[in-house]
Every structure is written in C-alpha cells, then in structure tokens.
C-alpha cells in the first residue's frame, strides 16, 4: 500500500515545483509584460482545464509515445522513453496542474495596484527587481494557494496519468489508479484505506492553507 502513496507524493511534488516556476513565469510575462500573442499563449495554457483528462492523456501519448514527435526524438537520440514511466506521470501532472497555478498567480498579480510598479520605476528599479521585491511578495498568498491547488490536482490526476504512465505497480501506480484497480478487483480494504489517506491529506492541506491565508494581514491590493 505504501508504494502508490510514495510515488504519488514524489510525482506530485516534482510536478508542483515545475508548475510553480512555469505558472508564475507565464502569469508574469502574459499579464505584466508586453509580449505578442498573449491570448493565444493563455488559451493554450488553460486548455487542459476544459479538456477531458482522457483527451489530454491521448494527446500526450501521441506526442510522447515511441512514434510521437518528441517521444521518437528522445528515444532515438538519448534512449529515453517517457510513456509508461513515472516521468510520464510527472509530465501529465504538470500539464493538468499548470493551469491552476497560472490562474491563481495571474489573479494575485493583477490584483496588485499598478501604482507600486510605477513608483518603483520612478525610483530607478529594473523590471526584474520590481518582480522580486514587490510583485512576488505581494502576490505570495495567491501563489501559495495556487501551489496547494496544483499539488492537490497533481495528487488526484487519474485519466491522463493512466493513459501516459499506465498502472504498473511499484513503477507508475499512483493513489488514484491504485484505488480504481482495487475497486475493480474487489479489494475494498485497500480502496478504503487509500481513499481515507487521500481525503485526510487533502483536508489537512486545505485547512492549513486557509488558516495561513487568514493570518496574512496585508494583501496585494491597495495598501
């Protein structure tokens, strides 16, 4: 029973770290910098939220599979196979959790009064320093919310993970896939235990996050 829990935590943690950096990065460049094709980029980023997980999984399978554009390249050049490995599960988790990270980071960043950026510019600050010293600290509560939700989404990812990584015990079997196959094979004891662990873990995380957010007394709005 431990193996899917450890694997789920490992996959979710790695996926969350990747989503964190990319989510904040895209939220910043799309909403605070002048770049071309903003709408197109944003639509592509958010697309996995509206697509069924099986569709996301199928697309990933086509792209990352042995005959896919990226999959065949990696296999031929470096001997790396992504499908039916835990790395494939990480990629699936990143794709489905990145929109949540992006949306939360975006909401936090756009809620910051632009007057602070203007003030910082007149004080001689570079855009990078404005991000580091003002935008990031002021949007921190929103970014933390996004990180927690992304982690929860990555932990709960089922459809895309099953299609890309399969359900190989000890190697790619995560909590959601383990629950599904436990129910299918009639192992209710295992299913109940995993469901309890997953629910308790998610509850504690959301509860702790809410408590922490209540304690933050400044927000990125008008200060």
């Amino acid at each position: 029973m431990l193996s899917p829990i450890i694997l789920s935590l490992k996959i979710s943690a790695i996926a969350t770290v990747i989503s964190f950096f990319w989510g904040v990065f895209f939220a910043y460049i799309i909403n605070k910098r002048d770049i071309p094709c903003k709408n197109l980029l944003e639509s592509i980023l958010i697309l996995p939220i509206v697509l069924p997980p099986s569709v996301v999984g199928y697309i990933l399978l086509v792209v990352l599979g042995k005959r896919g554009i990226i999959g065949s390249f990696l296999l031929e050049r470096f001997g790396i196979q992504l499908v039916f490995t835990w790395v494939g599960a990480v990629i699936a988790a990143v794709i489905v959790s990145l929109p949540l990270m992006y949306q939360n980071s975006k909401a936090a960043l756009v809620s910051i009064d632009p007057i602070y950026e203007k003030a910082a510019r007149t004080l001689g600050s570079s855009e990078w320093r404005i991000f580091r010293t003002i935008l990031f600290p002021l949007s921190w509560p929103g970014i933390i919310s996004g990180t927690a939700l992304s982690f929860a989404r990555a932990m709960g990812e089922f459809g895309a993970t099953l299609m890309v990584a399969g359900n190989i015990p000890q190697r790619t079997q995560t909590i959601p896939t383990a629950i599904y196959f436990a129910v299918e094979s009639g192992d209710n004891r295992l299913a109940n235990s995993l469901v309890f662990i997953m629910t308790a873990f998610s509850f504690v995380m959301i509860y702790t996050l809410n408590q922490w957010l209540k304690k933050k007394n400044y927000v990125g709005g008008k200060g």
Partner: protein, 228 residues
C-alpha cells in the same frame, strides 16, 4: 542650463489632445486645473510612465524624451522623485526599506563604503522629515500624515533631479495639512530640488508656487509668476 526644465508634450487623450509647452528654471511650478484637464498626464509623461505622441522633455541639461530624435529614456533612468496622490508606499516593506528602495537601485550601493554613506543619508532624510522613529513600522500601521512624510522622504532620498508631486496634500485632514504645509515649505527650501506640484487648492498654489499655470482641456489657459 542646470535645473532648467523644458517640456513640449502632445498626447492624444480620450476626449481631447493634451498640447502644452513650458519651461522654468528653478523653484516650484504649480499646475492647476479641473479634474481630467491632463495634469497627471503631464507628470506621467515627464517621469516616463507614459509616452507622449510627440514632443520634447529636457531637464538638468539632459534630454529624456525627443520624438524627432527617437529619444525616450525609461522611467528608471530619469532621476525623478514622484510623490503619488495615494503615496504608493510598498505595503510589504518597512518605512526604512521604502525610503532606501531608490538608493538600492543606485550603482554605488554595491560599494560598501558608499552604501554606508547612502544609508546615512537616508537616515538623515528620515530625521529631517521627523519619521526616524517609524523606521521599523509598516505603512498600514502609520497615520495618513506619516505616510505622506514617508512617501516624500522616499522621493527625496533617491536624490532626484526633479520632483513631481501629484496632489500630495489632498488625502490629509485640515489639521495635518497645516503641519505638513510648514514642513513642505521648509523642506523645499532646504533640498532645493526643482518641483512640479499639482493641486486643486488655490491656497496651496499661492503658498508654494514660483510659477503657476492653469490647465483647461489640455492647454494652458492662465499663466502667472508668483513671488514666494
């Protein structure tokens, strides 16, 4: 000429075109006019926060914007001290960090000896503004008058070549205003930085102006030199 400010700004706005040309050598230029007359747009154009459609802006012998020569220095390189109407103090930083923010952007801040001199100067500015005792406080825990002084000190501490003050007294109650007026008069004489002050109040205009212009629909409707 040093300290001389000249600006010619043409900027299309929603309901009219801002078209203004003015120059002054030192002291305080007060700009008055109805809401939406283009006063803040002038300050934003001079500071580099907004780009004029056409024109030329020059101060302290430096051309910061010239549409004919495609010169447009970014706001961070214009050495402007901008006091915003809402003060724009960074809520995640203490009063001390707010005041040192501009100093930390200076190249000399990387040099340890020069850094100490800059911090001493920031402390000196804080003492001059009577806010040294607030240095560890956050903006949300100080009064309106203290916020105003902090924002003013922050603008001055970065040693700007030009000060832009956008209705700095409008959010203060009458009693605090009287105190701040006296301090502002003293500080403006003390630091000698040329300034542009936007205000709705005629009394403030008369109190601080070396020169005064009144703006209407993006053009100068009245101009006066005052003896201060």
């Amino acid at each position: 000429m040093k300290n001389k400010l000249y600006f010619r700004i043409m900027k299309k706005l929603d309901s009219f075109t801002l078209n203004i040309e003015y120059g002054f050598e030192k002291g305080v230029l007060v700009i008055q006019g109805e809401s939406g007359a283009g006063k803040t747009t002038i300050l934003n154009c001079i500071s580099g926060l907004t780009t004029p459609d056409e024109g030329r802006i020059e101060y302290d012998s430096t051309v910061v914007f010239d549409s004919c020569r495609s010169i447009n220095l970014p706001a961070k390189n214009r050495s402007i001290g901008y006091l915003f109407q809402s003060y724009a103090l960074f809520p995640n930083m203490t009063v001390m960090d707010n005041i040192c923010y501009g100093l930390r952007n200076k190249p000399e801040y990387k040099d340890k000896k020069k850094r100490e001199a800059l911090i001493s100067y920031a402390e000196y500015v804080m003492n001059t503004f009577g806010i040294y005792h607030l240095k560890r406080k956050y903006p949300n825990s100080i009064s309106g008058g203290e916020k105003q002084r902090t924002a003013f000190a922050r603008a001055i501490a970065a040693k700007p070549k030009l000060l832009l003050l956008d209705e700095p007294f409008s959010a203060l109650d009458e009693d605090t205003k009287e105190i701040i007026y006296k301090e502002f008069k003293h500080i403006k004489d003390f630091f000698q930085t040329p300034a542009i002050l936007i205000t709705h109040s005629l009394a403030e205009g008369e109190m601080f102006a070396n020169q005064r212009i009144v703006l209407k629909h993006g053009r100068i409707s009245k101009e006066a030199k005052a003896a201060v």
